[in-house]
């Protein structure tokens, strides 16, 4: 489904954020990407739908080369859902309008069709009664659930999560993770950048550990948590699981 081959990315001529990153995510697979801050994990996930350009290697999404100038990027992006750390709902639009905008403007669905789809997904994340509100009137956890519903409304073939719970208060994290666990249970292909090791050990199939722009470890979940091969991953895990 998602394939990265020898991906290199630089910011400016001197700073390489991604170094020879190679991995793949199969259909229905849930892959968690973790690592210390500044390790390039968010950048990596943003390269998958070309929000960030890459300078070397290639990325293949559902058989289509992402970093090919001939690729219709808006169309490709509309098939991959993305959820951001800071939700990024559109503040001037009501919740239902947030859900309908791309369905209508990108997929060309009728307003009624988009509305029905949006309401169904809103119901699914437990926020149906908030459809007429504005994003600023919802809590962070609620906003993030709306953001997930907005991405799902596009009927994505895969979902990318960029630290979806990092900006949330602790009591709101679980309501978002619950939605993600459900999604994984339905067989959605997911690539998740997160520090939530509980989530990783519960639903991930594989864990990718990154440090300084490199994929240091790419292992099955049990192998990663059981006996990480690299020192760096071991140190990271011991720190993060300390408490």
């Amino acid at each position: 489904m998602i394939e990265l081959r020898h991906v290199d990315k630089w910011y400016g001529p001197n700073f390489q954020v991604l170094k020879d990153c190679t991995t793949r995510v199969a259909k229905g697979e849930v892959v968690v990407v973790c690592g210390p801050s500044g390790s390039g994990k968010s950048t990596l996930i943003k390269c998958v739908n070309a929000l960030e350009p890459i300078q070397g290697g290639e990325i293949i999404l559902d058989g289509i080369k992402v970093n090919d100038p001939a690729t219709d990027l808006p169309k490709l992006r509309s098939r991959v859902g993305m959820v951001f750390q800071h939700f990024e709902l559109f503040p001037h639009l009501r919740i239902q309008e947030n859900l309908c905008l791309a369905q209508e403007k990108v997929l060309g669905r009728s307003h009624d069709e988009a509305q029905a789809k949006g309401m169904k997904l809103l119901d699914r994340v437990g926020l149906k009664e908030h459809a007429g509100k504005y994003p600023a009137e919802l809590s962070g956890g609620q906003q993030q659930r709306v953001a997930i519903a907005r991405a799902l409304a596009m009927d994505p073939i895969a979902m990318l999560f960029d630290e979806p719970t990092s900006a949330l208060d602790p009591e709101m994290i679980s309501e978002v993770l619950d939605v993600m666990v459900d999604l994984a249970g339905e067989g959605m292909t997911m690539m998740v950048v997160t520090h939530e090791m509980g989530f990783a050990s519960k639903v991930a199939h594989r864990v990718i550990f990154m440090d300084q722009g490199e994929i240091v470890e790419d292992a099955l979940k049990d192998d990663f948590f059981g006996k990480p091969r690299s020192d760096r991953a071991q140190k990271f895990l011991s720190k993060i699981l300390q408490h």
Binding site: K46, N49, L51, P74, K75, L76, R77, S78, R79, V80, G81, M82, F84, Q85, H86, E88, L89, F90, P91, H92, L101, A102, K105, V106, L107, K133, Y134, P135, A136, E137, A147, R150, A151, M154
Partner: protein
Amino acid sequence: MNYNWNWGIFFQPNPMGTGTYLDMLLSGLWLTIKTALLAWIIALICGSIVGVLRTLPSKTAEWIGFLYVEFFRNMPLLVQLFLWFFVLPELLPRAIGLWLKQLPNAPFWTAAIGVGLFMSARVAVQLAAGISSLPRGQKQAATALGLTTVQTYRYVLLPMAFRIILPPLTSEFLNTVKNTAVAITIGLIELTGQARSMQEFSFQVFEAFTAATLMYLLLNLVVVTAMRFLERRVAIPGYIAGK
């Protein structure tokens, strides 16, 4: 000081036979309003286009935006009006120059376009600042949903950017109204022009300019009130100034 106050002068007939002196001033006020409105529309349209150009990732767009803004904001308005009114027709091929000079209402069109372009540079800078003040994730979220660049600006970035810059835009609208007074130098008999002719015909300089001052104040009070009303109308519940 030996001055004959005569507040009744406004109701005496003017020597042009177009009614009273008050009618004269009112026709000047009407011309000021027409010039300011047209100039403001031009400023908004050109300023929006250039403001957007200044925020695009393309180097060419950035350069065009830069040159446009620096050209129009670094020359006194008076010089710009002279340039368009006196110099431009001489620089053009003879036939076109002659046609320009003989256009009916040439001072009106020159003033509206000249003031409009002058103000558009300021609108552009403010809009660019408004767009840049939005979280980077907004553009990424819109892009990730598959919206094209044009759609992203139209539906996501501009609605928020314009809301943010409404208060400074109000000031620019007021400046546009006031700047039309410079057009007296190219022969536009707007409010200031009519006050001057009233002074010349009646020698009642203080009455003439008191009335003109009050009319400018009143006109701008209307603008301020209208913009306040607009601000409240587009305020987003739960967001910044919204309630």
